[in-house]
């Protein structure tokens, strides 16, 4: 049991295994639709999200919780209300847990510190996206059984990616090695201090990996002069059939979504047999149920 889920970094291996174990059980036996009966879960999303938002909603509903969607467009934050004031007001209505997505790192931790409810981080800035890493680990463990001795390659804009950070910590916690690859402007060498392998040549990076996790490239990166052009990015760091053929048999392909088809992933590779993208989405629901169940 955990009081909040703010980051993978502050979880122990035991915490992670407990959540993944619960998710397995939920997947096998189905969710108890009374587990969170009478409880209110508020989704506080300050950034657009489809996958994560829907996944948490389906997960909470499956456990019998009442889900409140706090929508930024029609809310008082447009009238200048601060995050904490919004959370305080909602908490006063009797809330079991907040699920928060925010463009600034540390926003869920701020709410957790000041408000007496459980908080689940659904993505904060470029800090962490713990539920994504847990569902990714769950998906890989279903295939492999054991993470030890495996190597996962994460390709793309690691610098701005909360998914990359959470996955780095989670995969390492479970015994896998993590390799980062992408343009030098988007993959800081300093990640080596965290135990990651860092390289810039994707063809080299593909050697001896057991799974490739491709990150979404935000279109703004070109205007920010972090990459010369989308075409050049696609040529140097996009996964296409040629690169897929360099992988050893049985290497899995993952993506946290939404995919830019033809940019970081060629359309043809989306159809491959070792593509886990839809399994990731399906597992997202049980893993998020496990997370909500684990909250004290």
């Amino acid at each position: 049991m955990i009081p909040h889920l703010l980051s993978i970094r502050e979880l122990s291996q035991g915490d992670v295994l407990d959540i993944l174990g619960r998710a397995s059980k939920l997947k096998r036996e189905g969710a108890q639709c009374t587990a969170l009966a009478g409880k209110v879960v508020v989704k506080l999303f300050y950034e657009p999200s489809t996958r994560t938002s829907c996944s948490f909603e389906v997960a909470a509903a499956g456990l019998g919780a009442h889900v409140l969607n706090w929508n930024i467009a029609s809310s008082s934050s447009v009238k200048g209300e601060t995050l904490l004031d919004t959370a305080r007001n909602l908490a006063a209505m009797g809330v079991f847990a907040f699920v928060i997505r925010h463009p600034n790192a540390g926003a869920p931790a701020l709410v957790a510190k000041h408000i007496g409810c459980a908080v689940v981080n659904a993505g904060d800035g470029r800090h962490e996206h713990p539920s994504q890493a847990l569902l990714d680990a769950f998906t890989l463990l279903e295939k492999w059984g054991d993470m030890r001795g495996r190597r996962v390659l994460i390709v793309g804009d690691v610098l701005h990616s909360r998914v990359a950070r959470s996955n780095l910590y989670c995969l390492q916690l479970l015994g896998a090695k993590v390799r980062f690859c992408g343009p030098p402007t988007l993959v800081p060498k300093a990640f080596e201090a965290f135990g990651a392998e860092v390289c810039f040549d994707l063809d080299e990076a593909l050697k001896e990996v057991d799974a490739v996790m491709v990150l979404r490239l935000q279109k703004e990166r070109q205007q920010e002069a972090l990459i010369p052009s989308a075409q050049e990015y696609q040529r140097r760091w996009g996964m296409d059939l040629r690169r897929m053929s360099q992988l050893k048999e049985g290497t899995f392909l993952m993506h946290p979504g939404p995919v830019n088809r033809g940019l970081e992933l060629a359309s043809e590779v989306m159809e491959g047999p070792f593509n886990l993208i839809l399994e990731q989405v399906a597992n997202g629901v049980v893993v998020r149920q496990a997370i909500l169940e684990s909250l004290q």
Partner: protein, 373 residues
């Protein structure tokens, strides 16, 4: 105004390279060379008498700030923003606003430098001058007026949206970071401009090792340059801070322990001339936000003297960094020393504990710890 004879004090006056036991005379708010008649006499045996402390940058938002300044030995505060009239009181430290270098601190056109009443210290606050040509002309113009240009060294194209120094900590917190080059390239640029333009340049709140090295090297070449650091950067660095703690939200941003050590060393050996508070008390609203949105700043007036006192350096140097150092940085003649004719701004310090016992502004006791000496 009353006259005072301060007897048998350990007089520590770095500007006059004095650290001896002796007497100081005060009459009409000034230091005099002859004992005034009918003066009150204090025996300061065992205590240190030093010039009143000068803060190079202090944001005064409330009366509380001014009282804290007196308690900490300050008699003069240079203020990036003019303090609100209602917080000032008789006996408060002198608050001297720093004049703008560019119009509206917008970094586009020169401010009315030659028209400003006594505003001979020019500072655009934390708004950097991105335009090197403008900076060069500002230095040339200021040099002719004997005005001091105070620089916040930052290249916005490098600092971007950063809120913490570049490194593993910023990566782990997942926040935009600022490379040291955002500061050091501007320090290098402005030193090169100073060589051509002449005059005097003062760097505010240096935060990285490379900047300290550049200033050291410029001083060796004989350039008229001074620099200060803030206790916010001496006492904290990225890895020491609790994640997302508003205490770590300062500007320039916190950097590595190595940078912090270099700042300390610079302060110790004198390549950094002054320790400036950069005090800015923030309201609860300003810090109860996600880290990136918190207003940068900190309560640091009360950290300056204790930081210096605890450092391993001679007493004369400790006091120099808050008296003669800032006075040299800003080309002040009237303060920062205890020579004849100086304003009778002084502090009395317990030599055993380092506590500030009394603060005198213009010869008047404006703060007193305990009843008697």
């Amino acid at each position: 105004m009353s006259a005072l004879i301060l007897k048998s004090a350990q007089i520590v006056d770095p500007a006059n390279n004095r650290n001896t036991v002796g007497d100081i005379y005060i009459e009409n708010g000034l230091i005099t060379s002859t004992p005034p008649s009918g003066a009150e006499v204090w025996d300061l045996a065992g205590h240190c008498l030093a010039p009143g402390f000068i803060d190079l940058r202090c944001t005064v938002r409330s009366r509380e700030d001014l009282n804290l300044a007196l308690e900490q030995g300050y008699t003069t505060l240079f203020c990036p923003q003019k303090p609100p009239e209602e917080v000032l009181f008789s006996g408060a430290p002198k608050c001297i606003p720093l004049g703008p270098l560019t119009q509206g601190r917008g970094g586009k056109e020169l401010a009315g430098i030659g028209l400003g009443a006594g505003a001979h210290i020019l500072f655009d606050g934390n708004q950097p001058i991105g335009n090197a040509g403008l900076m060069r002309r500002a230095m040339q113009y200021a040099a002719e007026l004997n005005a001091v240009v105070m620089v916040h060294a930052e290249d916005k194209t490098l600092s971007g949206k950063g809120v913490l120094g570049e490194g593993a900590v910023a990566l782990a917190w997942g926040i935009p970071c600022v490379p040291a080059s955002a500061e050091a390239t501007v320090v290098a640029r402005d030193l090169l401009l100073l060589e051509e333009a002449g005059g005097h340049l003062h760097f505010a709140h240096l935060s990285c090792k490379r900047s300290v090295q550049l200033v050291e090297e410029a001083k060796r070449r004989g350039l008229s340059v001074t620099a200060d650091v803030s206790p916010l950067h001496l006492n904290a660095w990225d890895a020491k801070a609790a994640p997302y703690s508003p205490l770590a939200r300062v500007w320039p941003p916190l950097r590595t322990e190595e940078d912090s050590c270099a700042l300390r060393e610079g302060l110790k050996c004198g390549s950094i001339d002054a320790l400036a508070s950069d005090h800015c008390r923030r309201t609860k609203d300003e810090v109860e936000e996600p880290f990136e949105l918190c207003m940068p700043g900190g309560e640091s007036l009360n950290a300056v003297w204790p930081t210096l006192w605890a450092m391993d350096m001679p007493l004369l140097d400790k006091i120099a960094r808050v008296t003669s150092g800032p006075a040299r940085a800003l080309r002040l003649a009237w303060g920062g020393h205890l020579g004849e004719g100086a304003l009778a701004d002084a502090v009395i310090i317990d030599l055993k504990t380092g506590h500030i016992l009394k603060t005198l502004v213009d010869g008047r006791i404006c703060f007193s710890r305990g009843a008697t000496l």
